[in-house]
């Protein structure tokens, strides 16, 4: 609460702070400053106060850190107007989104993943260049496909890519969309994909109720892509429990590759 508020105040007075939460679980205590002081100020002041701050840190499950240190906040922050919320997967996502977030004049919540910090990714020349930025609010198609649309953010994007490889051997070609931004969500990219594939599976690490997948499904239903669905959308999420400690329990509380493969087969009725 204290340092989060100090960072927000510094942003209001003209600096561009990057406020790090050791994990977003600790942001729950400071969430008043993120929402009431940062997110809402531009609106309440009719544009006279701006808060160009970035809140960043690891979000969601790690390894063996148990219930109080494993919560995913994508749905919590994604709920609030006035915030922008980004969730990188690859190294180029992390670099490009962080730079865009810092340059954005609005409060941005950047939900990283501790388990991804140690994972190497290929980076193009362009991505390694000094001013490489990724626009906030634009999803990326990581893998084109024709039979089913997989939408995910953060670490589960990697699981979707693995599932796509497994399914490809069985003749199912998955289109994998990396959301990159939770709010404002690029639902148009998902819609265009669903129009093409006619099937949708959402994958996230957070809890199912009121989650990112629930929002995607609601929006698809409201939009033109609904008429192109050949089956109800399927959500793959974290299990609806506080994160347990024992490895076997923890492993089965987050979406695994086998869960995604199963969901795709359910959606395609194969």
């Amino acid at each position: 609460m204290g340092f989060a508020g100090i960072a927000v105040g510094a942003a209001m007075a003209g600096l561009r702070p990057v406020c790090e939460f050791m994990t977003f679980n600790f942001s729950m205590q400071a969430i008043d400053q993120v929402i009431n002081s940062a997110a809402k100020s531009c609106y309440m002041s009719a544009g006279s106060i701006s808060v160009p701050i970035v809140f960043r840190g690891p979000n969601g499950a790690s390894a063996g850190v148990a219930a109080q240190h494993s919560q995913c906040f994508a749905a919590w922050y994604g709920h609030c107007p006035g915030l922008k919320v980004v969730s990188p997967w690859s190294a180029e996502d992390a670099k490009g989104l962080l730079k865009s977030s810092i340059r954005d004049d609005n409060p941005v919540v950047m939900l990283e993943s501790e388990l991804l910090y140690g994972v190497p990714f290929e980076m193009s020349e362009q991505a390694q260049s000094k001013d490489f930025v990724i626009p906030i609010g634009k999803a990326k198609i990581e893998r084109p496909g024709t039979h089913v649309t997989l939408v995910a953010h953060s670490r589960p994007v990697g699981h979707c890519m693995e599932a796509a490889t497994v399914l490809s051997k069985e003749g199912v070609e998955c289109e994998v969309i990396n959301l990159r931004t939770i709010r404002p969500m690029d639902i148009e990219t998902v819609e265009a994909s669903v129009v093409k594939t006619n099937h949708l599976v959402t994958v996230e690490g957070g809890w199912p109720q009121f989650g990112v997948g629930a929002e995607i499904c609601a929006r698809i239903m409201e939009g033109p892509a609904f008429n192109y669905l050949d089956a109800p959308a399927v959500r793959v999420t974290g299990a609806d429990v506080p994160m347990p400690y024992a490895k076997i329990l923890e492993d089965n509380s987050i979406p695994q590759v086998k869960d995604i493969v199963f969901a795709v087969k359910k959606a395609l009725n194969i």
Partner: protein, 370 residues
């Protein structure tokens, strides 16, 4: 209509004895005398009277249901905001909680824009988007609804002041109720550690909503609660006491010594907000006693008249002018139109290309412009 005395008859300034401040971890505090010029006195009087009448007008408009929602009035505490403003510069920064109308005025927003914001009209200083608790202007960061949240924000503003190196300070205010909040102690720690140029001001009006300080705090020495941060306890009903104390504190902070805590002992005539009659937890006699013995405007008026700085008639003329200004502002505030519905989605983001905002259903969309 013209004052019966020539301006040449008045003294140009006078020196007044003021109460010494209680000190915490300070060898010496502000002096016990203050010089006030005639011009200063007239300006302080007019400003305090304007705030007083503006708050009373807000009371009236609220009872007529023209102002709705929250309305926390500042009458009785005028010496605090006017005294602070007299001691700092326009380039310094101020942040306070929800009892903010007085500060909004002293920091430069007109009465008509304040009243129009209270009545939720497009001519309001936040275009009707904010209301009573969310008024802002240059170097004034509101107007904050969550108790205590403004204190870390204020320290953050002070951090920016230090970073920019322009010798500016921040005054971060809170009440006796908020003084027990955890985030304030977190802020004391960081402000002291990093020597932030922040004056933490506790406006102790003796009641946190309906709870008296004796029932709320293990220690009611709010000026000592910063523990390792030096503190001052000041008579908040005497504008000169407030001014001298804040001058002292501003000098201290500007010199790189770090923060100070200041307790202003003050009083609010109204209840906590317009939903609180303010007499279930205190007696009418107590309110009456403060009004007759310690009213900040009366104290100033008596000082000026008794020391030949102004005449009673002259001050009456100011009263008339103030009443007129408030009436005109209220007229504007009750006749200006509400903000157009098209603006509902504006200002979600800052400096952003226009986009669409969803309304109560998927077909109702509002354009959002920064």
């Amino acid at each position: 209509m013209v004052a019966s005395r020539n301006y040449g008859d008045f003294a140009s300034e006078a020196t007044f004895d003021i109460k010494p401040c209680d000190l915490h971890r300070l060898e010496k505090g502000p002096g016990t005398t203050a010089v006030m010029t005639r011009e200063e006195g007239l300006q302080y009087y007019k400003t305090m009277q304007t705030i007083r009448r503006m708050e009373l007008k807000s009371d009236q408009l609220y009872k007529q249901k023209i102002i709705r929602g929250f309305c926390h009035l500042y009458d009785g505490q005028e010496a605090c905001c006017v005294g602070i403003e007299a001691a700092i510069k326009p380039t310094d920064h101020v942040i306070t909680a929800y009892r903010a109308h007085g500060f909004t005025y002293t920091r430069g927003v007109s009465v008509r824009e304040i009243l129009a914001e209270l009545t939720g009209r497009k001519g309001g200083c936040a275009k009707g988007k904010g209301g009573s608790m969310h008024m802002y202007t240059k170097n004034f960061y509101g107007g904050n609804g969550i108790v205590g949240a403004q204190v870390p924000l204020g320290a953050g503003v002070a951090l920016a002041c230090k970073y920019f190196g322009k010798n500016e300070i921040c005054v971060a205010l809170y009440g006796d109720g908020a003084a027990n909040q955890g985030q304030i102690f977190e802020t004391y720690n960081m402000a002291a550690l990093w020597k932030l140029p922040c004056i933490f001001v506790c406006e102790n009006n003796r009641y946190g909503m309906g709870t008296s300080v004796e029932r709320a705090a293990a220690s009611t020495d709010y000026y000592k609660r910063g523990y390792f941060i030096p503190g001052l306890r000041v008579d908040g009903m005497d504008i000169l006491c407030v001014r001298e104390a804040v001058k002292f504190a501003a000098e201290y902070c500007r010199s790189g010594n770090g923060p100070l805590v200041m307790e202003l002992q003050t009083y609010r005539y109204h209840g906590h907000s317009m939903s609180d009659p303010g007499i279930s937890y205190r007696t009418r006699e107590e309110i009456q006693e403060v009004r007759s013995k310690s009213d900040p405007i009366t104290l100033l008026k008596d000082r000026m008249v008794n020391n030949n700085l102004a005449s009673v008639e002259e001050l009456k003329e100011i009263d008339v002018a103030v009443r007129k200004e408030i009436e005109e502002a209220a007229q504007f505030a009750t006749t200006d139109p509400e903000p157009p519905l098209e603006e509902l989605g504006h200002h979600i983001y800052f400096n952003e290309p226009p986009f669409e905002v969803r309304g109560p259903n998927q077909w109702i969309k509002y354009k959002s412009v920064s």
